[in-house]
């Protein structure tokens, strides 16, 4: 082989496809590509506000070379990475920085070195299992919300489990179920999303068996905290003539990974891939409305050993990415009604990491009356369950402070009324940090299609 044949991009693609298993030791994380420019650390939202976190360059590619030598980093400092992936989006060399970080956490966990204090272990266990927590909550949402609303409960949670008493734990709602969408009656029904907001929702007769099918991956936030938005997503897809299939998925695995439960994350991925496999084979696209689920499906699932893993990466779409594809093909329905609303848009970190731009902004701008501006003010700080942790609550707010400030100013100057963002976590944290209302952009589309009225838009 001639050394001058080395073409980076070609190599890299091959790497991505072939070197799926880190144990093989190949440079699939592109350690060799790092030119030490430090751009990743300059952009890391945590390193910017927390001096004890040495930043992605240091804990990623720098430490990786030492790790190969057998010298490990102090386990504690890795826990401050929120896995927002801003570093990877920034890196000009495609270094898989967060994969390096996660891999070390995985190894630490397997070796038992990362086992911090038992209490935190249990907390991470709980937060990692958004799904179980969710199932529990949705069994009887009013009770869960009330109990979680009690100060005493929250103080207890903080004392016993290290879950911050001040953090905005999302409220639990009715569980999202496919059967909810099956009845085909044209009546208005209201779905609660807490006492302050409620969205009108018209059940339509669109979901007749159609030749055009999509699989919808709702994710935990939709499933357990915000099923109304799930309904809206389904309606919008149905409005465009798709039959929406929602198998009984488990959690995508991102919160498990972020809390160091790697084996369970893989098991979940295998379970979910098993459910998707028959559809994937027929070439049916998988739609995710949660940007973290979408990222996991696109980036992590292809590395899992399970049937369907080869297809999932290419066949997964973010909801608005999918709608934009339809638009470009001339297949998106544009029977829009005017929606008079001015919004700010916050791009979730895991949407940025997908590298697809901000398709929801593009779609919303097709709707007459909609004014939407991108905030571009960085990370909200919550990062899944990071901001729930007692020792990281303040830090999370600090990370999001630029964003919150921008939102507060905008609302005060009446530049916009609410913040649109796809990620449920971002919605909760933005409301908590800035006091401004937030919503999933799908509601604007929902209203424009005449499927119902969203109270957040008015």
């Amino acid at each position: 082989m001639n050394r001058r044949d080395v073409r980076r991009d070609g190599d890299r693609q091959a790497d991505n496809k072939l070197n799926l298993d880190p144990a093989r030791g190949e440079d699939w994380m592109h350690l060799d590509a790092c030119i030490k420019c430090g751009a990743c650390t300059a952009q890391c939202p945590v390193a910017a506000v927390y001096p004890l976190f040495p930043g992605p360059k240091s804990v990623g590619p720098d430490a990786e070379r030492l790790r190969l030598e057998g010298i490990a980093l102090a386990p504690g400092c890795l826990a401050y990475c929120t896995n927002c992936k801003t570093c990877e989006v920034t890196c000009p060399s495609s270094v898989r920085i967060t994969d390096m970080i996660l891999q070390v956490r995985r190894q630490e966990q397997e070796a038992g070195t990362g086992k911090a204090i038992c209490r935190l272990g249990m907390r991470d266990n709980l937060l990692g299992r958004a799904e179980y927590l969710g199932r529990l909550g949705t069994l009887w949402p009013p009770l869960a919300n009330t109990v979680l609303g009690w100060k005493i409960t929250r103080r207890l949670l903080e004392k016993t489990l290290g879950i911050s008493a001040r953090a905005p734990l999302p409220r639990y709602g009715r569980k999202f179920r496919t059967s909810d969408i099956v009845p085909l009656v044209g009546e208005t029904q209201s779905y609660g999303r807490g006492e302050t907001e409620s969205y009108g929702c018209v059940k339509t007769d669109q979901n007749r068996r159609s030749a055009k099918k999509v699989v919808y991956f709702p994710g935990c936030f939709i499933s357990y905290n915000d099923e109304a938005t799930g309904q809206a997503v389904v309606k919008v897809l149905e409005h465009n003539g798709f039959e929406v299939i929602v198998p009984h998925f488990h959690c995508c695995g991102v919160p498990l990974t972020a809390n160091g439960r790697f084996r369970e994350a893989t098991a979940n991925a295998q379970h979910n891939l098993g459910l998707m496999q028959p559809y994937l084979e027929q070439g049916i696209p998988v739609i995710a409305s949660c940007t973290s689920c979408g990222l996991a499906l696109k980036e992590d699932y292809p590395r899992v050993s399970a049937p369907g893993a080869q297809r999932i990466g290419a066949q997964t779409y973010d909801l608005f990415e999918f709608l934009w594809v339809l638009h470009e093909r001339g297949e998106l329905r544009k029977d829009f009604r005017e929606v008079q609303v001015s919004l700010a848009y916050h791009a979730p970190c895991h949407l940025k990491a997908q590298g697809i731009g901000t398709p929801s902004v593009r779609i919303l701008r097709l709707i007459p009356g909609v004014k939407i501006q991108e905030l571009d003010a960085g990370c909200c700080g919550l990062s899944g369950s990071f901001g729930f942790k007692a020792e990281k609550y303040e830090l999370a707010l600090q990370i999001g402070s630029t964003l919150f400030q921008r939102v507060q100013e905008g609302v005060k100057e009446e530049a916009f009324q609410a913040v649109a963002t796809e990620c449920g976590g971002c919605q909760v944290q933005i409301e908590h940090g800035s006091g401004a209302p937030s919503l999933n952009p799908v509601w604007v589309l929902y209203q424009a299609y005449g499927l119902g009225i969203s109270s957040a838009i008015g």
């Binding site: 082989m1 050394r3 030490k36 360059k57 720098d62 030492l66």
Partner: protein
Amino acid sequence: MGQGLEKGSVRYSVQVVIIGGGATGVGILRDLSLRGISALLIEQGDLAHGTSSRFHGLLHSGARYAVKDPISAAECIQENAILKRIAPNCLVSTGGWFVQMPGDETDYVEAWLQGCQEANIPVREIPVQEALEQEPLLAKDVLRVFEVPDAAVDGFKLVWDNAKSARRHGGRYLTYHRVNEVLRDGERVAGVQGENLLTGEPFTVESLMVVNATGAWADRVAATAGASLDVVCDKGVLLAFNRRLFQRVINRLRSPGDGDIFVPHETITIFGTTSERVDTPLDHQPTDREVQRLLDVGETLLPGIAGKRLIRAFAGVRPLHREDRELTGASGEGEGREVSRTFALIDHEVEEGIKGFLSVVGGKFTTYRLMAEKASDWVAGKLGETAPCRTAEEPLLPALSERLRRKALALLPCAAAEKMLERLGQEAVAVLETIREDPGKGQLLCECEMVTVAEVEKAVADPDAHHLADVRRKTRLGMGTCQGAFCTYRALPLMWREGEKYDPLGRELIRFLNQRWKGIRPILWGEQLRETEFTRAIYAGLLDLQDKGTTTE
């Protein structure tokens, strides 16, 4: 130290002068000092600036020589065990594998196993499956794998630790002093004279005896005394990869040849080597052709080698004693010459009637202590000293205290603490004290190798450091992935604070960048090309160095 007697000339007086501050020279300095013989070592550059830092860094188990050179093999395994005992801080017992590949001579394996057994080199066969699991990058078609006690040795550190140990026992050394002439007083040598290269001042040393340990320079130095030596300079090229590719030394199991050894060193892997006659020891520029040849050969052991990131290429020059090589197979040739087939001690009294003058040539880094022992025995014999050699028992440095390690871990991120302890040993105390007083100095100045501001500050202030390259060898600054792109300019303010010592800084900077460039140029493709372009942007763009960057060394 001695007083200048004549105007402008510094004089020293000592029993023995050793010329050459490589492994051999400092080994002799330590050995003599431990015997209580007063000795002064003269080195023209920094210690280990010759072949002893431009080598592969393999502490041979001897297995490589098991077939062709059984005496070497036996010497290596014996020294291997001794050094692991006396210098654990300078080496890492990685172990080594000999792997047989398809097409390698099959009868060689049997002869090799036989040779290892005779030399007492422990060998263990590793099942291929297991081997591939432990070294996933190794070629999948490997036929057989054997484990031997090879190790990785840090040449620079070993040389300095010898020098420091010698100093504790009264030995002295002068760096950046070049010997221009070995002085004669009739039949006897009378000392040496030369120049302090930092100040331009001449110096003279009076001594009873002179030991010439100048490696590839030995013939030139001998000639100044009117003695003749036939030394052949043999250039070997080495490639440094960005990361650890293998966890242990990987040798190819066949007759020793080019490109058949990988040695893991700290964060990198060094692969080599080649063999080519050159006219002078200063010719250590690797050529494109040599680099390409190494990669072609290396592909067999490490498929896809050309796609792995190289950070630099460098070369060293082996000093081969010609007669010695030609006489391979003969032993104890001629009186007055104690010859093992691996190195030669040449008593110039026997050769050309010059009394008190010994040249030590050839050998390997691994056997430096043995060469030093033999040379010191000769010196002691001539001086009538009877104290025995103690270098095989006496550790170079006291062992690292657990308290120090805990203190380091409390003040620095774990990886940075470990690396610093590796580099500094007990001397880390001072650095830690600085960081404790001013935690800001715990910041990493070199991020690739995790070197703190405090450590660089200490290295810069060290009286033995005269150039940025000396600081580099002491700290590994500039030796990682970025090859000095960031740490170089960060180190400059610290040097500036030392005042006149490093004046002028601009020249230091250019010299250092050019030294780095020399190693990068032959491997300028792929990721390192991107890195270099980035480095160029920093120095030629931001710092506007473009037109002046012509200083070479």
